[in-house]
């Protein structure tokens, strides 16, 4: 296989993956209980802060129809990331309010044009802030109703961590929220951090054992350690990317790797694929479909590229995203919990990949190589958590999956950060809950003779990837300068899709149930790449299989 030159660095993708900084510009305002409102172009914009000092923004059209959209933004690191850090640097902590996904002006304009109001908080604390964010949002709803007495319906939506917050609102405040749409949602923190921790530990163990990977020190020292880890992780990923490009068939291991020479006989790309599989990171990424090959290659080379090399690039691109979350969120959660939260002392990585290793056999360089890598992982030093810290983390808000209001779930099947398994875990919990409710209804029929089938409050939507989407240059090099494929990347939704979600929320709030039938299918078809498939079940987060 010849050398491959990329048109753009893969690791740069990570820089924008977690952050939603494109928000509406907000002037400095006094943080008072009563907002400062001004009206221009028939829209009243109110800025203020809730009692926890979280800044918020409300935008209400002159023809307000009584329904307001409450948006919860995604994860923003709670510490600045210096500009010099490769792949991710240049982030400043911000609590700028976000009244719609990414501050999307088209969405805001469209909703306001239809008579809907929008609002969102920037939240008082960044990082994993679900507990405080739920309280902030509850207060914000009260403030909005006080300010705009015409308010009749409140619909909540949010992305990533904001999806988690939205789900929590739906579960805990069904009297406050009329409909909810958790998008590309994070599920409970422990499964999520298990995925992130596994990915980070795999990168550390195979490619740079000096990565600390958690159990960071207190205060400034811990911050420095975390930032140091970011540098090391992205340096290792950069080295892998360069090696893949130079020799995709047998890329070298990074100089920082300390694995035995015998293991280095296995292509480094296979180790990266193993890390992705054992942590549950998808094998399709923004630019790599794991199905295609450059047409300039011979037929046998194309097969080899399809089965062995394209998946490795996908793993590389996705792990760049997952590892960033791992470092920043681990540092944050340890600050909140008071100690190390990731523990893999009992994790059986071989069991984790028992079936998948056959599916991705070529990418893993065969069963013997896989056994060799798993054998190395089996004896490698493990991360041990502080039980008290884990116990404290477990006191943070979790999802029960039990919603009594219409709720719409939507995510990409190849989201590398909040993988589709996050959405699936909530679906699974709701199904159990629904089955119980149904059983109760049947039991009640036997006693009273009355029977009413319980409402199914969950509308489950998926954003599937195309069959083939990797683009290649005329010379056969993968082209990563093109936009990420649909269904991939973190919260990678189009404006049309988000507007469709907004419409579905409005319908659900007005009717007390989710849209269904032909109307729903027409709406999804027009939005594009929104699939209703009750038979689909996303791979569960690895945490649930341990």
């Amino acid at each position: 296989m010849s050398k491959i030159k990329f048109k753009r660095s893969i690791t740069l993708v990570a820089a924008s993956s977690l952050l939603s900084l494109t928000v509406v510009s907000v002037p400095t305002v006094a943080r008072a209980a009563d907002p400062a409102c001004s009206t221009a172009n028939f829209v009243t914009t109110c800025l203020g802060a809730t009692s926890d000092t979280a800044p918020y923004m409300m935008m209400v059209p002159a023809n307000f129809n009584g329904t307001v959209y409450l948006y919860s933004h995604g994860y923003r690191p709670n510490v600045p990331v210096p500009a010099g850090i490769p792949g991710y640097g240049g982030y400043t902590v911000t609590n700028t309010p976000e009244p719609a996904p990414g501050g999307n002006a088209t969405i805001i304009g469209t909703l306001l044009g239809k008579g809907y109001a929008v609002m969102g908080s920037g939240f008082a604390r960044q990082g994993w802030n679900a507990d405080s964010a739920v309280k902030t949002n509850v207060e914000l709803v009260g403030l909005f109703k006080k300010q705009f007495s015409k308010t009749e319906k409140v619909v909540a939506w949010g992305s990533s961590l904001g999806g988690f917050i939205t789900q929590a609102l739906a579960e805990q405040y069904p009297d406050l929220i009329d409909a909810a749409a958790p998008l590309c949602m994070a599920s409970n923190i422990e499964p999520l951090m298990t995925m992130a921790g596994d990915a980070l530990w795999g990168i550390k163990t195979f490619f740079d054992p000096t990565i600390k990977g958690g159990n960071y020190s207190a205060g400034a020292a811990g911050y420095a350690e975390a930032m140091g880890d970011l540098v090391k992780v992205f340096t290792a990923i950069g080295a892998l990317q360069a090696a893949f490009a130079a020799n995709p068939t047998a890329p070298a291991w990074p100089a920082t790797s300390k694995v035995p020479d015998a293991l280095k006989a296995i292509p480094s790309r296979s180790a990266l694929v193993l890390v992705a599989l054992m942590s549950g990171v998808p094998m399709q990424s923004a630019h790599f479909d794991s199905t295609s090959a450059p047409s300039v290659l011979s037929v046998s080379q194309q097969t080899s590229f399809q089965l062995a090399i394209n998946p490795a690039f996908a793993a590389l691109e996705n792990l760049a995203n997952a590892a960033a979350l791992a470092v920043l969120a681990t540092h944050d959660l340890e600050l909140q919990s008071g100690g190390a939260i990731f523990d893999n002392t009992a994790t059986n990585y071989a069991a984790r990949v028992a079936e998948e290793q056959f599916v991705w056999s070529s990418a893993l360089s065969g069963a013997s190589a896989t056994a060799g890598m798993l054998g190395y992982l089996a004896v490698a030093p493990r991360a041990k958590a502080d039980p008290a810290a884990v116990a404290k983390m477990r006191t943070l808000v979790t999802h029960s999956g039990e919603v009594e209001i219409p709720t719409i779930l939507f995510t990409g099947v190849a989201d590398p950060v909040t993988t589709a398994g996050n959405q699936q875990s909530v679906i699974d919990k709701y199904e159990e809950y629904y089955a119980e409710k149904w059983a109760e209804a049947k039991a009640n029929k036997r006693i009273t003779g009355d029977y009413k089938k319980p409402d199914n409050n969950l509308l489950i939507l998926w954003n599937f990837t195309p069959e083939k989407y990797t683009k290649y240059t005329a010379l056969g090099a993968p082209d990563t300068s093109v936009p990420a494929a649909t269904g991939t990347n973190h919260c990678n939704f189009t404006t049309s899709q988000l507007l469709a979600i907004a419409d579905l929320l409005a319908y659900a709030a007005d009717n007390g149930k989710n849209m269904s039938g032909g109307a729903l299918r027409t709406k999804l078809r027009k939005a594009g790449n929104m699939t209703l498939d009750r038979g689909y079940s996303a791979p569960a987060l690895k945490y649930y299989g341990d």
């Binding site: 194309q302 097969t303 080899s304 056959f358 056999s361 070529s362 038979g535």
Partner: protein, 430 residues
């Protein structure tokens, strides 16, 4: 997933059904996906293009040819069968996408003959065949893991497993090549591992053992295999891989004048495909292989004769093991559809194979193991040898069939007599 609930049947519905039954014809209306009063829609994923496609790409057309023959002779209870083929290029991720397409877009009633172990493993899990209750008939892979009926409740295998194959070969090695230096080249995934475990359990030790990663087979890699085999002095070489790997192995060995006794696994030993891949007949002459079916050239066999006639009229492909396999899958499928009855449902089809599948007519000499507790198809092999014309003949002149299981069960010489080919190749079973 939350299933649909049965609706309370009102007197009105009952009345409508009663009236409807008065007008029932010989083509019952069906509410089942992929079934209408006049058609049954089936689907298959397999490599139609790409390096792994040689040979495999003939199976779908052959099956379709048989279905066309049945359709021209009245179909199945009056319904014509439509087969939709999708090219997965042997890629698991692509197989998932293509199977989703078959189920969600094309809305097929069932899958028939999906090919490949890695692809099927990926499809079964990601598409959720069991969860969706989609019947998956006669999957083209010998991975013994698929015989787990609890895990694969809607899937049915057809090939004897790789483990069964290795057990039969082990016995043959002990009986015929004791004391010889043994070599093994195997695909280093569940295909080869399945066989490897069985060889180990049988106590066969290889002096030279060479794993290769699927997709890496080429003349260059074959050169390294041959060098290692020759250096190790292997006198008998067992090969467990696909045809696209057998071809360079035999060609490179011949060029190097390395001529061990080859024992080629059933998957990678079709003489016609090997010839098409550039292996001269003379190189294959004398190679041994476990076989389940008669030679595709054996026109004295009633199945072969019938299938050749159908192939000539409806397919016009060179008749080889893959065409034979495709035709036979068609024959088995039609019997399964018939056994499920005129009111065709997915559940009914699965039950029909469980209850009656072991009695189906099939070209293979070994019994079918289908039952309420087993989704395992054929269960045995005989040893064959490739002659100077590139034809496969029973080793020793007669078919000595051995049956076994994928576990620790013994290898037993079988006197099983396969059912006769249905008259004119058209099943009439119920």
């Amino acid at each position: 997933m939350i299933g649909k609930t049965g609706r309370k049947r009102t007197w009105l519905v009952a009345a409508v059904l009663a009236v409807g039954s008065l007008f029932a014809t010989s083509l019952p209306a069906n509410a089942e996906v992929g079934v209408s009063s006049s058609t049954i829609k089936l689907g298959i994923t397999l490599p139609l293009t790409g390096a792994a496609s040689p040979g495999y790409n003939k199976i779908g057309n052959a099956m379709n040819a048989y279905f066309q023959y049945v359709n021209d002779n009245g179909g199945v209870y009056g319904r014509k069968i439509t087969l939709i083929q999708k090219d997965d290029q042997y890629s698991p991720q692509l197989a998932i996408a293509k199977t989703n397409e078959l189920i969600l877009k094309d809305k097929v009633f069932a899958l028939v003959g999906p090919l490949g172990t890695a692809t099927y493993t990926a499809v079964h899990k990601s598409v959720g065949l069991a969860r969706r209750k989609v019947p998956s008939l006669f999957i083209n892979t010998g991975f013994s893991g698929f015989s787990d009926k609890k895990k694969y409740p809607t899937s049915f295998t057809i090939l004897p497993s790789y483990a069964m194959e290795a057990k039969v070969v082990s016995q043959f090695l002990k009986e015929n090549f004791a004391g010889k230096k043994l070599g093994l080249v195997y695909q280093n995934d569940e295909f080869g591992i399945d066989a490897l475990g069985a060889f180990k359990d049988a106590g066969v030790k290889f002096d030279v053992s060479i794993p290769y990663t699927s997709g890496t087979q080429s003349a260059a890699t074959a050169q390294t295999w041959v060098s290692q085999l020759a250096a190790g002095g292997a006198q008998v070489v067992v090969f467990f891989g696909v045809t696209s790997a057998t071809a360079p192995l035999l060609a490179v060995a011949a060029a190097a004048k390395y001529a061990p006794q080859w024992i080629l696994g059933s998957v990678g030993s079709d003489p016609l495909t090997l010839q098409a891949l550039g292996v001269p007949v003379a190189v294959m002459n004398g190679a041994l292989t476990p076989a389940g079916n008669p030679s595709p050239n054996d026109t004295s066999d009633e199945y072969i004769k019938m299938f050749q006639e159908i192939n000539t009229k409806y397919n016009n492909a060179s008749f080889d093991d893959y065409v034979l396999q495709g035709m036979n899958l068609g024959l088995l499928t039609v019997q399964a559809l018939r056994a499920a009855g005129p009111r065709l449902t997915r559940r009914g089809l699965i039950k029909a194979i469980e209850n009656k599948g072991s009695t189906f007519a099939s070209v293979s000499y070994s019994p079918l193991g289908f039952s309420k507790t087993s989704n395992v198809g054929h269960t045995g092999y005989y040893m064959a040898v490739v002659d100077a014309k590139g034809d496969r003949k029973p080793y020793g002149g007669s078919v000595d069939l051995y049956t076994t299981d994928s576990g620790k069960g013994p290898v037993v010489k079988s006197n099983f007599k396969r059912p006769a080919m249905p008259a004119k190749g058209l099943p009439t079973n119920k």
